[in-house]
Symmetry: C2
Subunit: 227 residues, 2 copies
């Protein structure tokens, strides 16, 4: 039997070529096939756009549609797995691009599960998380001293207990509920959209956040902090 | 009055040149002065070692001693601020290197406070966090779905409430207490030391962790997770 390919899961950061690591670039350059997700069918892939200057003409590129949180997501992930498996069986190394970090709320994690069940060789490469990138854009720290840092999706905002440093992610269409909770609990906050990408915005007030809803948003919130 | 310099706070990742971003490298290359912390007086600076291949001979390098959690830390940070201020007043751009991400538990945050009080221009560049790097080394995810992720120092382990996905940092000499807590609460865990650096280790059992204590360690813990 011929040699099987390896799947490389690559965190490409928040978007913006400058936040790619050398390891991400070198891995992309050595793969035969590049697979990049797009949130919309036929839409642009942020992950592909981030890396396209390092992809050569002889590399095969597949843009794979992964609907975010839609009911057919599981089927789409399985379809992507079957596509990738075909290349791996052919002995081709595959780079799967994922925005942010590969092991933080990524579709890649679901995909990796199928790949590992079949015992293919895999390697995952970390990326700059959206919250680290957004913190530098807003010039607001994430956490200091002996304090915990809680990263929490909007629908689980009530998981905040006595933490002083919190990041809220994935709260599209739940903005009002999230902001009510933060206001009530005495948090200061800033909302960052599309850090390091076209359309980057820093929203400092409740009103600004409610008037500029965008799926690609996160909130950094502090209370009782000297920073 | 002549032009003042800018302070660039640069997250250089966990150590290991490959996890530097293009933006970190380009910023280091354009600065006049590079300041890198070392945990031990006269000891090596992990941050400097990570970047040294991108530092040219005509750049001034200062290794600054920052004792971790020792009583004279505040004075050392103030000394470093005075050193940096001198360069900024001379119109020199300064790169301050910090391992991991610049806004996650970094001494840079304390330093930045002094610099901002004096209204100097600053820019912070995000880095790969130790937990993202360690997760890929251990091949263990950080968080998925609608679950929160709690990052917590060892001395605050009791902040864990009902989270399924937890990272424990800074637990040197508290290993037993931390592991007792995790065992009692039904967590699986892996400990990663010195991810992407010389001496990298993955410790999978309680016994291994207790027999290989190292300051540069973190634990990724899951419970009730399918990943």
């Amino acid at each position: 039997m011929s040699k099987l390919g390896t799947l490389y899961g690559i965190g490409v950061g928040p978007g913006g070529e400058e936040l790619l690591t050398l390891k991400a670039i070198r891995t992309i350059e050595k793969c035969d096939v590049i697979i990049a997700p797009s949130a919309m069918n036929g839409g642009v892939s942020i992950a592909y756009e981030t890396c396209k200057n390092f992809i050569k003409e002889n590399q095969e590129v597949v843009i794979s549609h992964f609907p975010m949180g839609k009911p057919d997501k599981e089927k789409k992930v399985f379809d992507a797995f079957k596509t990738i498996e075909k290349y791996l069986k052919d002995g081709k190394d595959v780079a799967f691009l994922t925005i942010g970090d590969a092991f933080v709320y990524s579709t890649y994690i679901y995909l990796l599960k199928y790949i590992k069940e079949q015992d293919y060789k895999t390697e995952t490469i970390p990326g700059i998380t959206s919250f680290c990138a957004s913190a530098t854009v807003a010039d607001k720290i994430l956490v200091i001293g002996d304090e915990p840092l809680l990263i929490v999706p909007g629908c689980r905002i009530d998981c905040i207990k006595d933490e002083k440093y919190v990041v809220i992610m994935k709260f599209y269409n739940q903005e009002e509920n999230v902001l009510n909770y933060l206001d009530e609990k005495g948090f200061d906050y800033v909302c960052v959209q599309r850090a390091y990408r076209e359309g980057e915005k820093i929203l400092n007030t409740r009103e600004e956040i409610l008037n500029n809803k965008d799926y690609m948003s996160l909130i950094i919130a502090h209370r009782d902090s000297e920073f």
